[in-house]
């Protein structure tokens, strides 16, 4: 048993931390947020130069073939400094969906790794909640071409994507596990309407409306669900690492504040009730870190083990993450709610990480029902 990063992994983490501190630290963040799209673009290009975007892409497809632990190390840096780049979507989720599915996919993966292409993936449909098998978007074969019609209600980080990977129904009916296939569509395809939304954490998401959009089938027809679930579990686990690092940062900042803020002639950290709160926050972070390791180290296990591990981590890290962030705001008092301090940004990100791919209720149910 060993929970240490290798020398290389530690170096990766250190360099992401340094990058975050230099570019997205609390004192620079507000200015960055004023022109978010161009600052994200700038960071994206710099991350490409550093080789980070190709981390989890297989070597055969132009990447570094990084492991889940490598990704975890990188995500810790992103979470600690709340770097609002679409990394998990474009560089973890999409590679897991596309790798090994053929030439078109390889080209896109190479582009992602070099920072020339951004891609996102759409699974969720209205009325489907977070169910990945709830797929009604239709795919019809006509003249040897796949034409897609329907709607994806939420595409995580879809805002600036050049390509979308979407699930579509090629057989069976709306909630069947079989009969789901994956397709690639270009963002500027005729018949595709992309509606963008800004989230409170600076990420940009989309809703897609498709009307006979030309698409390329990727992977095996009708049997994509397993691949989708596995890829989403990787995305969730990367998010979990981001959440844990954000919790730890929020705790560190709060602890510092407890020592410096004075009321009633003493530092507020001398109030026992706040000490106990800080202890509970530290326990929450410790629990979350353990869950992060549990999920990450089971990511390549058999599907049942993996799903239970990931859903367990998603549930518990969602809960503890929200707890920590809310208490961090609370212990800061009024300033905790203002933009100027980093604390409120951690809360907003935790709320969004908790939402992405389903909250505790959803994952508790999945945990209980996996077989």
């Amino acid at each position: 048993m060993n929970f240490d990063y290798s020398g290389e992994q530690q170096m990766l983490l250190d360099s992401v931390l340094r990058y975050g501190l230099d570019n997205w630290s609390a004192d620079k963040r507000l200015a960055c947020l004023k022109d978010l799209p161009s600052n994200v673009t700038k960071s994206w290009a710099e991350m490409a130069d550093l080789g980070w975007l190709m981390l989890s892409i297989p070597e055969e497809e132009g990447g570094l073939g990084g492991t889940p632990v490598d990704v975890m190390a990188l995500m810790e840096g992103i979470g600690r400094h709340l770097i609002p780049v679409p990394y998990v979507t474009s560089c973890v989720l999409v590679p897991a969906l596309l790798s090994g599915t053929g030439e078109t996919a390889t080209e896109i993966l190479e582009g992602i790794g070099l920072g020339n292409i951004r891609a996102a993936a759409g699974f969720l449909e209205s009325e489907g909640g977070f169910d990945l098998n709830y797929v009604g978007l239709s795919a019809e074969l006509s003249d040897n071409r796949w034409l897609l019609s329907g709607e994806k209600v939420h595409v995580e980080d879809g805002g600036d994507a050049d390509w979308y990977v979407v699930s579509a129904r090629t057989a069976g009916s709306i909630m069947d596990s079989d009969g789901i296939s994956l397709f690639l569509i270009s963002a500027n395809s005729p018949g595709l309407k992309v509606e963008n939304f800004r989230a409170v954490d600076g990420h940009t998401h989309s809703r897609l409306r498709l009307d006979n959009v030309n698409a390329t089938l990727v992977g095996e027809k009708d049997q994509a669900l397993m691949r989708i679930e596995s890829a989403v579990d990787r995305a969730i686990t990367a998010h979990v690492a981001e959440a844990v690092a954000s919790m730890e940062m929020a705790n560190a900042v709060t602890l510092d504040y407890l020592g410096t803020r004075r009321q009633f002639g003493v530092s507020i950290g001398s109030f026992q009730v706040l000490q106990h709160r800080a202890v509970d926050m530290a326990i929450a972070a410790e629990e979350a870190r353990s869950m992060m390791l549990h999920a990450t180290l089971n990511l390549n296990a058999d599907p049942v083990t993996r799903k239970r591990a990931v859903s367990a981590a998603k549930t518990r890290v969602g809960q503890t993450g929200l707890y920590v962030a809310k208490q961090a705001v609370q212990l800061h008092g009024g300033v905790g709610t203002c933009d100027e301090l980093i604390i409120s940004h951690h809360l907003k990100r935790q709320m969004m990480l908790d939402t992405a791919y389903g909250q505790a209720d959803y994952h508790r149910t999945r945990f209980a029902n996996v077989s």
Binding site: G129, D131, V200, V273, L347, T355, T365
Partner: protein, 391 residues
């Protein structure tokens, strides 16, 4: 002991109900349900409509222009307001400074300021907190130095909500340095147009402008605007503490609006079934309603105390605490009901976000403030421990 209304009270209920049916526009509903304040001009219009009907100050005695209502009528009034989707009246004039003025103010002050509060010609903001004086308000540093028939104010106020809208501000400032920090603090009424006042917005996480920093630089206030006696301002806050139970009570009654908001959001279908009918959601929702029932009954007991003119002990603090917790969890449930679309805060390039956005998210974020302001939850617990439990 009973929970029934008399025939007279029932008739009053009808009267209030039909009034609200007329004055509350539908566009307010989602914001009101999310616990967000309406725009100042909307709140002013609402207050003016109430004032016209003679109901501008439900909690004030008749002699000062109030309704003189007893607790049952106030309860009916707030419950009907809640039902109709009406907002809570802006409280800083009505519940905070108004009662202090009619209790401790000069006749001249009563004549000048009370009508403006009721008919919304004036808007009051509260200049108490400072960067270094939050929970520990008595450590405030703003000074008011007497110079002839004026006080000269210097210092910085923080978190002054709606200072950007206000015509007036009531300020706590130090007029002398005494051994006991609570002494030597005076309460002054300041016209916001006075030279030397600078208001700077504070950007908050909910992306809604409600609060400000206020810089006071040689601001000259006529001595006539001192409330009560010099150096006794701290004690006047005690009225507030007592009045604040009414603010808490009104908030707590309005909690049903937040619950209704979450319920409406949960009408979204999941595989053809409304979300609120799914087992996990309905059970969480029931929990919320159960807690809201307890809160509502706590409020009734609080109001009965007020009717009997007895001290509520810690009940006001308890209601405030539980109200803020319930508001926060109800907003959490509302966001959960939005599912993945909770991430669609604002539509870009003319895209339409879900109909309850951005308000649901703003409400969820804003709700965090309610366990911080007006005496944080930690401070409320300290008060209960000390005053009620004798610890």
């Amino acid at each position: 002991m009973n929970l029934e209304f008399t025939n007279e009270e029932l008739a009053f209920q009808e009267e209030v109900r039909s009034f609200f049916a007329e004055v509350v526009p539908k566009e307010w509903l989602t914001r009101v349900r999310a616990g967000l304040r309406l725009e100042p001009k909307e709140l002013i219009a609402y207050q003016k409509a109430l004032a016209e009907r003679g109901w501008g100050a439900p909690n004030w005695p008749k002699e000062f222009g109030g309704t003189g209502w007893g607790p049952t009528q106030i309860y009916i009034f707030e419950s009907e307001a809640t039902r109709a989707g009406a907002p809570i009246q802006f409280h800083q004039g009505l519940e905070l400074i108004g009662p202090i003025i009619f209790t401790y103010g000069s006749d001249e002050q009563k004549k000048r300021f009370l009508p403006g509060i009721i008919n919304a010609d004036d808007w009051w903001c509260q200049g108490y907190s400072e960067p270094g004086a939050g929970s520990d308000l008595a450590s405030l540093k703003t000074t008011a130095a007497k110079d002839g028939d004026e006080y000269v104010l210097n210092g910085q106020k923080m978190w002054t909500s709606y200072a950007h809208v206000a015509s007036h501000m009531f300020v706590l400032a130090r007029t002398s340095n005494e051994e006991k920090r609570q002494q030597g603090i005076s309460l002054l009424l300041v016209d916001m147009k006075t030279p030397g006042i600078q208001v700077k917005p504070i950007d908050t996480m909910d992306e809604k402008h409600h609060t400000n920093e206020v810089f006071l630089d040689d601001v000259r206030v006529p001595v006539n605007n001192l409330v009560g006696e010099e150096g006794r301002g701290w004690g006047y806050g005690k009225v507030l503490l007592d009045r604040e139970r009414m603010v808490s009570a009104a908030n707590a009654i309005h909690i049903q609006q937040v619950i209704d908001g979450a319920r409406a959001a949960a009408e979204r279908l999941i595989a053809g079934v409304p979300l609120y009918k799914t087992p996990t959601f309905s059970s969480k929702f029931a929990q919320l309603e159960i807690e809201a029932t307890a809160l509502k009954t706590m409020v009734l007991r609080l109001m009965a105390d007020a009717a009997a003119g007895v001290d509520s002990g810690p009940r006001g603090s308890m209601v405030k605490l539980r109200w803020s917790e319930l508001y926060q969890s109800a907003m959490g449930l509302w966001l959960e009901a939005l599912g993945p679309e909770a991430a669609h805060f604002r539509g870009l390039e003319n895209t339409q976000a879900p109909s309850d956005m951005p308000y649901a998210m703003q409400g969820a974020l804003y709700s965090r403030v309610t366990s911080i302001y007006g005496g944080s939850s930690e401070i409320q617990r300290n008060i209960i421990a000390r005053r009620a439990l004798g610890l």
